[in-house]
C-alpha cells in the first residue's frame, strides 16, 4: 500500500508517517510527505498512491474546490484536520474518513481499517468525476451500478448515461458503503436496484435490475446474495 501525507506542519507529517507505519507495518510499501496540495497533485507518481492523508483548511473559500479535485482522483482521501465543524459536508463529497486534530493512534487505526473492511456507513451525496477538462459533481443517488474496467470504472446512471471515474471498483466499493453490493468482480450494484436473481444454465447467474438490465453475478457471490434475498430469488 502506498500512502501520501499532505501536511504543512512537518513535525505532524512525520508523526503521521510514524503512526501509519506502526499501524500498517509491512502492508505499507511507501509513505511520501508533501507540505502542500499543489505539490502533491503535481507529482508524476500521483496515481500510484492508494490513500492520501490531507490536511484541509475548509475555512478558505476554495476548501470544497480542493475536495472536488481530490475526490476525482484515483486515490482514496482521509482528511486530517482541525476544522471539524465542516466534517459532515466533507463526507458528502466522497471523503473516506475525517480524522479530527489532535488525533490519536486509535483513531488513525480506525480510519485505516476502513480501507480493508468497508463499514456500513452512509453513501456520500456526491462523487466528483472528471468531465472534459474540468470537474463534475455527480449526485450519487443517480448511480445505478458501477462496472469495473481495470484502472478505471464506468458509472451507469439512472438516465442511461455513463460516466468514468478514475477510482477502481474496489475503492468505490469502499467509498460507496452499504447501499451498494458487489455482485461480480466487475460489477457493483445499488442494492435497491436489484429486482431479482436468476440462475441461467451452466452455472451462470444474473441479477435482474428494475431497469430491465441483466448483470452477471459471480458464483460465490450468488450464494451470499441468495441468502440475503431469499430462496425464491425475489427481493425480500
Amino acid at each position: 500500500m502506498r500512502l501520501l501525507i499532505v501536511e504543512d506542519e512537518r513535525p505532524i507529517a512525520e508523526d503521521l508517517q510514524f503512526l501509519v507505519l506502526k499501524i500498517l507495518g509491512d502492508l505499507v510499501s511507501e509513505v511520501a510527505l508533501e507540505t502542500h496540495l499543489e505539490g502533491a497533485l503535481q507529482r508524476p507518481d500521483l496515481k500510484a498512491f492508494d490513500v492520501v492523508f490531507l490536511d484541509l483548511n475548509l475555512h478558505g473559500r476554495d476548501g470544497f474546490e480542493v475536495l472536488k479535485q481530490v475526490g476525482a482522483c484515483a486515490f482514496l482521501t482521509i482528511v486530517v484536520s482541525a476544522n471539524t465543524d465542516r466534517a459532515l459536508e466533507a463526507f458528502e463529497y466522497g471523503v473516506l474518513d475525517f480524522v479530527a486534530k489532535p488525533y490519536s493512534e486509535a483513531r488513525l487505526r480506525k480510519a485505516l481499517d476502513r480501507l480493508t473492511q468497508p463499514l456500513h456507513h452512509k453513501e456520500p451525496r456526491y462523487l466528483p468525476v472528471r468531465h472534459g477538462a474540468g470537474l463534475r459533481l455527480l449526485a450519487v443517488d443517480q448511480l445505478v451500478y458501477v462496472q469495473g474496467a481495470d484502472v478505471y470504472s464506468a458509472l451507469h446512471l439512472r438516465d442511461g448515461g455513463q460516466v468514468d471515474s478514475e477510482k477502481t471498483l474496489a475503492r468505490l466499493e469502499v467509498l460507496l458503503g452499504a447501499a451498494f453490493v458487489r455482485i461480480h468482480k466487475s460489477f457493483l450494484v445499488r442494492r435497491a436496484e436489484i429486482a431479482g436473481l436468476d440462475a441461467a444454465g451452466g452455472g451462470r447467474y444474473h441479477a435482474l435490475l428494475h431497469s430491465g438490465e441483466r448483470l452477471p453475478v459471480g458464483r460465490q457471490r450468488y450464494k451470499t446474495l441468495k441468502a440475503e434475498w431469499g430462496g425464491d430469488g425475489a427481493l425480500s
Binding site: 506542519e9 512537518r10 513535525p11 505532524i12 508523526d15 510514524f18 503512526l19 482541525a82 489532535p102
Partner: protein, 582 residues
C-alpha cells in the same frame, strides 16, 4: 410705566380714556388721572394754604429744568356721577413720585407714603402706593385731589410718574401679576443659564455653552432694566443706572444671541452678516423695526446661511424666534417686553439643541463602545479559535511521541501566549515592548510547530510607546500564514522611528507573499486597521504591500508614552476626545 401696562390690561388694548376725570358707575379697571397742576409752595402745610395762582400745568413745569430738591403740590379734580356706588373699594395710586408724598382728598389728608418733610426729617416712600378711599368719601360730584411731594433723597422727584384711579383690589392684583411674570421670566433665564453652565463641562461645546450662559445673563439683566419698577424703589441711582445701560443691554443681548447662533452652527460668515445687520438696525439705519423684529430678522438671515447638514437643527432657533414673535399677540405676554419673550424662546431652543447634541454624542459613544467590544471580541475569538488550539495541540502530541523535551517547550510557549493575551485582552493600549514579546513568543510557537526557524529582529533603539494590543502580533501571524507555506526559515525585522508627527513602525518579513495579496485584505489587516482607527482616528495610517525581498507594513501613529496610559485607559474615552461633527 406700570400704569401703561395696567391700562393695557384693563382696557384691553386701549379703549379711549375719558379726557376729563369723570367717572360713572360702570367705570371699571383703572384710569390715569389727567389735568394735573403743579405748584412750588414749600411753605404751605395744607392744600388750602397754596395760592391758586401758584399752580401751572404739570407738563410745562416738567419740560423746564426742574429743581432736584424741594416741596411741590400737585392738584387735579375728578368728577363722580351719582351712579358711582361704593359697593367696591376705589383707590388712588400715585406711582413714580419721589421721595415722599401725602395724599389729600377734598383737602383732607388720607394717606402718606414715606414721610414728607425737609432735608432732615424726610423718609423715602414707595414707588407704587395704592391709597384706598373710604366709602364715605365717594360721593357724587366734584372732588379735589392734592398731593404734597417732598424730595430730598433722589435727584428727580418725577420718575415717569402718574396717578391712577380705580378699583383698589384691581390695583393691587395687577401689580402682583406683573411682578410674578417678571420674576417668572427671570427664573426661566436663570434656570436656562444654570443648564448652560452645566453644559460648559462638555468638552466639545464648552465655548458655545459659555456664550449661552452670557446670553442668559444678558437677557436676565435686560429684563430687570426694562422692569426696574419691580424693585418698588425710588432711588435715583437705580434709574440713572437703568438710563445708562438700558440701550446697551438690548444691543448686548442681540449680540450674544447672534454670537451663540453663529458659533453653535460654526458659521463664521453668517455670524458676521448677522452681527452687521443687528448693529446697523440698532444704530439707526432702519428705524421702522422694533428690537425684537430686528433680532428675528438677523437670526433668520443667519440661519439661512447654515450648511444643509445643519438645516434641521437651525430650524429650532428660527422656530423659537417666530414663536417668540407670535407671543406678542397673546394676552398673557402683557407686562413682559417682546425682546425678553424672544430671549426665553431662544434659550429654550438652545436647551433643545444641547440635548440633541448630548443625545448624538451618547449615540456615538455607544457605537464606539460597541465597536470596541466587538474588536476585543474579535481579537479573543481570533486567538482562541479552535483551529489554532487544535493544531497547536496536535503539534504537542506529535512532539510528545518523538521528542518530549520539544513538546515541553511548545507547551510552555503556548501557555505563555495564553497568559499574555488573557492579561491584555481588555486593555486599549499596551506597551510596545510587551507587544514585541508576544510576537517573539508567537514566532517561537510557530517555529516549533512548523519545524522551522522564525525570528524577530528589532533594528535600532526601541521607543517607549503604547500600541493597541495585538496589532504587530496579528501582522506577524498574517505574514506567517501568507508567506511561508513552503519555507522553513523566516526573519521578521521591526523598527520604530520618531517622525515630526509621531512614530513610524515598520515590520518587514522576507516572505514570498505575492503583490496581488494586497488586493483582498484579509481579516488580519482589517483588524489592525480597525484597532488603529478606534484608538487614533485619522492620526494613524497603515500601508501594507510587497517590497523587494518580502512584505512590509508601515504604520504611522502618534506616540503615546506609557505615563499617559491613565489618561487613555478606555478606548471609548479616546474616541470621545475627537470632535463630533454636527
Amino acid at each position: 410705566m406700570i400704569g401703561f401696562w395696567l391700562i393695557l390690561i384693563c382696557f384691553e388694548g386701549g379703549a379711549a380714556v375719558p379726557a376729563a376725570n369723570s367717572f360713572q358707575h360702570n367705570m371699571h379697571g383703572q384710569a390715569v388721572l389727567q389735568g394735573w397742576q403743579l405748584a412750588v409752595a414749600p411753605a404751605a402745610a395744607t392744600p388750602d394754604e397754596v395760592p391758586a395762582t401758584a399752580f401751572q400745568p404739570v407738563d410745562d413745569v416738567l419740560l423746564a429744568a426742574q429743581p432736584a430738591h424741594g416741596m411741590w403740590w400737585l392738584r387735579t379734580t375728578i368728577e363722580l356721577d351719582e351712579t358711582v356706588s361704593n359697593d367696591r373699594i376705589l383707590a388712588l395710586c400715585p406711582e413714580g413720585l419721589a421721595s415722599a408724598i401725602q395724599v389729600y382728598w377734598d383737602g383732607r389728608l388720607i394717606a402718606e407714603s414715606g414721610r414728607v418733610g425737609g432735608a432732615g426729617e424726610e423718609q423715602l416712600g414707595r414707588y407704587y402706593a395704592p391709597v384706598p378711599l373710604l366709602p364715605e368719601l365717594i360721593k357724587p360730584g366734584r372732588h379735589q385731589i392734592d398731593l404734597r411731594v417732598s424730595n430730598h433723597h433722589t435727584r428727580r422727584f418725577w420718575h415717569d410718574a402718574q396717578i391712577l384711579f380705580g378699583d383698589y383690589e384691581d390695583l393691587l392684583k395687577s401689580v402682583g401679576i406683573w411682578q410674578v411674570k417678571v420674576y417668572f421670566a427671570l427664573g426661566l433665564f436663570c434656570v436656562a443659564g444654570v443648564f448652560f453652565l452645566g453644559f460648559t463641562t462638555v468638552r466639545d461645546t464648552r465655548f458655545e455653552a459659555l456664550l449661552l450662559v452670557l446670553m442668559c445673563v444678558a437677557f436676565a439683566g435686560r429684563l430687570l432694566f426694562e422692569n426696574l419698577w419691580v424693585f418698588d424703589t425710588l432711588r435715583t441711582d437705580y434709574y440713572d443706572f437703568q438710563l445708562f445701560w438700558r440701550r446697551y443691554a438690548t444691543v448686548l443681548t442681540g449680540v450674544l444671541s447672534l454670537a451663540a447662533l453663529g458659533f453653535w452652527f460654526k458659521q463664521r460668515r453668517a455670524l458676521v452678516v448677522m452681527m452687521g445687520l443687528w448693529l446697523v438696525s440698532q444704530y439707526g439705519l432702519f428705524d421702522g423695526l422694533t428690537d425684537a423684529d430686528s433680532l428675528l430678522l438677523c437670526a433668520c438671515v443667519g440661519m439661512a446661511c447654515v450648511a444643509p447638514a445643519q438645516r434641521r437643527d437651525a430650524l429650532w432657533p428660527v422656530l423659537a424666534l417666530v414663536l417668540g414673535r407670535l407671543t406678542a399677540f397673546a394676552d398673557f405676554r402683557v407686562g413682559i417686553d417682546l425682546m425678553s419673550w424672544l430671549g426665553i424662546w431662544l434659550a429654550a431652543s438652545f436647551l433643545e439643541l444641547n440635548v440633541l447634541a448630548l443625545r448624538r454624542r451618547e449615540q456615538v459613544r455607544q457605537t464606539a463602545l460597541l465597536r470596541s467590544a466587538r474588536l476585543e471580541n474579535q481579537m479573543l475569538k481570533n486567538f482562541i479559535k479552535p483551529h489554532y488550539l487544535m493544531n497547536a495541540l496536535t503539534s504537542v502530541s506529535a512532539w510528545m511521541r518523538r521528542e518530549p523535551e520539544t513538546a515541553d517547550a511548545l507547551i510552555t510557549a503556548l501557555a505563555e501566549e495564553f497568559r499574555q493575551i488573557a492579561a491584555i485582552a481588555d486593555q486599549a493600549l499596551i506597551p510596545l515592548a510587551r507587544e514585541l514579546t508576544l510576537c517573539r513568543n508567537h514566532l517561537r510557537i510557530m517555529s516549533l510547530r512548523k519545524g522551522a526557524t522564525f525570528d524577530l529582529v528589532v533594528e535600532g533603539a526601541l521607543i517607549d510607546t503604547l500600541v493597541p494590543p495585538l496589532i504587530l502580533h496579528t501582522l506577524v501571524e498574517n505574514g506567517l500564514t501568507h508567506g511561508y507555506e513552503t519555507r522553513d526559515q523566516g526573519i521578521f525585522r521591526f523598527s520604530v522611528t520618531a517622525g515630526p508627527s509621531g512614530l513610524r513602525l515598520t515590520l518587514f518579513n522576507d516572505s514570498a507573499a505575492r503583490a496581488d495579496a494586497a488586493g483582498g485584505e484579509g481579516t488580519g489587516l482589517t483588524y489592525v486597521r480597525a484597532r488603529l482607527a478606534e484608538t487614533f482616528g485619522d492620526q494613524a495610517v497603515m500601508q501594507a504591500g510587497a517590497v523587494a525581498g518580502g512584505w512590509r507594513v508601515v504604520i504611522e501613529m502618534p506616540r503615546v508614552p506609557a505615563d499617559q496610559a491613565a489618561a487613555r485607559r478606555g478606548s471609548a474615552e479616546v474616541l470621545q476626545e475627537q470632535p463630533c461633527d454636527y
